[in-house]
């Protein structure tokens, strides 16, 4: 784009959101392997022109979907954490909310994971994981864990692994969540 052209993200906010929510619904129905502008616009109840006004190409649409996924999960986690003091209970509440959010958006998450073999989606996913990692680091630090950075990095992959197991099973796996809490019983508090 020429430098003088305004960023597309500031135009047609409502339509952009509607197109992303449409993509989310299509992903939940398993029919969004590749973004087809006409199908997405139709699902959103909008003329196809809005898709092209909001997104440069399919790659940009998928990146925006990734951010949409992250925003939705974050919104839920932050709401769940409100008012809770630092500690194991707050940590578990936040993680439970993250896992529940992944299950609610399982079609979208499944699609995004499959698309991670493309470098641009991989980079977006890496940014998402870095954000989640930082949240965990702050929680472990506030809770008094000895090595919050290293601890958060290791625990994050276990949380992601539980999310993956639940995605494979397409349902909550209480036993896996129970095991996840068991790893928090160490003497590093």
């Amino acid at each position: 784009l020429p430098a003088s052209e305004p960023p597309r993200t500031h135009e047609h906010r409502a339509e952009r959101l509607a197109l992303l929510e449409a993509g989310c619904r299509l992903a939940e129905r398993g029919v969004l392997e590749q973004p087809v502008p006409a199908v997405i616009a139709s699902e959103a109840g909008l003329p196809e022109g809005f898709y092209h006004a909001c997104f440069r190409d399919g790659r940009e649409y998928l990146q925006a979907l990734h951010r949409y996924f992250l925003r939705e999960i974050l919104r839920q986690v932050i709401a769940a954490l409100a008012g809770l003091p630092p500690g194991v209970q707050r940590l578990q509440t936040g993680i439970r909310s993250f896992l529940d959010g992944c299950l609610q958006l399982q079609g979208l998450r499944s699609l995004l994971l499959r698309l991670e073999s493309s470098p641009e989606v991989f980079e977006e996913a890496r940014r998402r994981r870095r954000g989640f990692l930082e949240m965990l680091r702050l929680e472990f630090k506030a809770a008094g864990w000895a090595h919050p950075e290293e601890t958060a990095r290791l625990y994050r992959v276990m949380v992601e692994e539980v999310a993956l197991a639940e995605l494979e099973a397409r349902q909550e796996l209480p036993v896996m969540r129970y095991i996840l809490w068991q790893f928090l019983r160490g003497d590093a508090w």
């Binding site: 073999s117 290293e150 276990m158 796996l173 129970y178 095991i179 068991q182 590093a188």
Partner: protein, 184 residues
């Protein structure tokens, strides 16, 4: 008869491992560079591998085989299953990864290759089986599920140490605390 004539595939893999160790990966690998380093003709390469991508995948598998053999050899000589042997095996895995940084570098370079991703997942499942045996001896609930999570965490610890290039005491303490927490 020379070793090259006996097994060009093995010679090429060993040359690839040396090149990867020297260059810190195989991003810039070319066929002439590889065949020259191995002393094998391009025809010999084509008979052994379908393409350079195929070669990279086979090399990753070969390097992971070497690491696994070192880990299992260490674990086998260490008493009965349980937390102590599991921790010994975990440290053997981390140390072996540090001794073979080219393997981890190659795995990173191939992070978006679907075949390599599947290969890495299979390897993780294999390690999870090893750790399941140790965790089962602790008589804790669902050792299979716990081993899956523990393996993901142990591999992440190896990646963290690869980034710093040394045995990171903080990473190992955090790992130990989690595993001890589960073991009870």
């Amino acid at each position: 008869m020379s070793a090259v004539a006996d097994d060009p595939r093995k010679t090429l893999l060993e040359a690839g491992a040396r090149l990867a160790a020297r260059a810190g990966g195989l991003r810039d690998l070319t066929l002439p560079l590889l065949t020259q380093a191995a002393g094998v003709s391009e025809a010999g390469f084509n008979a052994a591998f379908a393409s350079l991508d195929d070669f990279r995948r086979q090399l990753l598998r070969h390097m992971m085989d070497v690491v696994r053999a070192e880990v299992l050899a260490t674990a086998a000589g260490f008493g009965r299953p349980g937390f102590e042997r599991m921790w010994h095996t975990v440290e053997a895995f981390l140390d072996a990864n540090l001794r073979h940084p080219a393997m981890r570098r190659l795995a990173y370079e191939m992070r978006t290759d679907p075949v390599a991703i599947e290969l890495l997942r299979q390897r993780m499942a294999g390690y999870a089986m090893v750790f399941k045996t140790e965790l089962a001896a602790l008589e804790r609930p669902n050792p299979g599920g716990a081993a899956r999570l523990a393996t993901a965490m142990i591999v992440e610890a190896a990646k963290a140490e690869h980034e710093t290039g040394y045995a990171n005491a903080e990473v190992r303490r955090a790992l130990y605390a989690f595993l001890k927490g589960y073991a009870g």
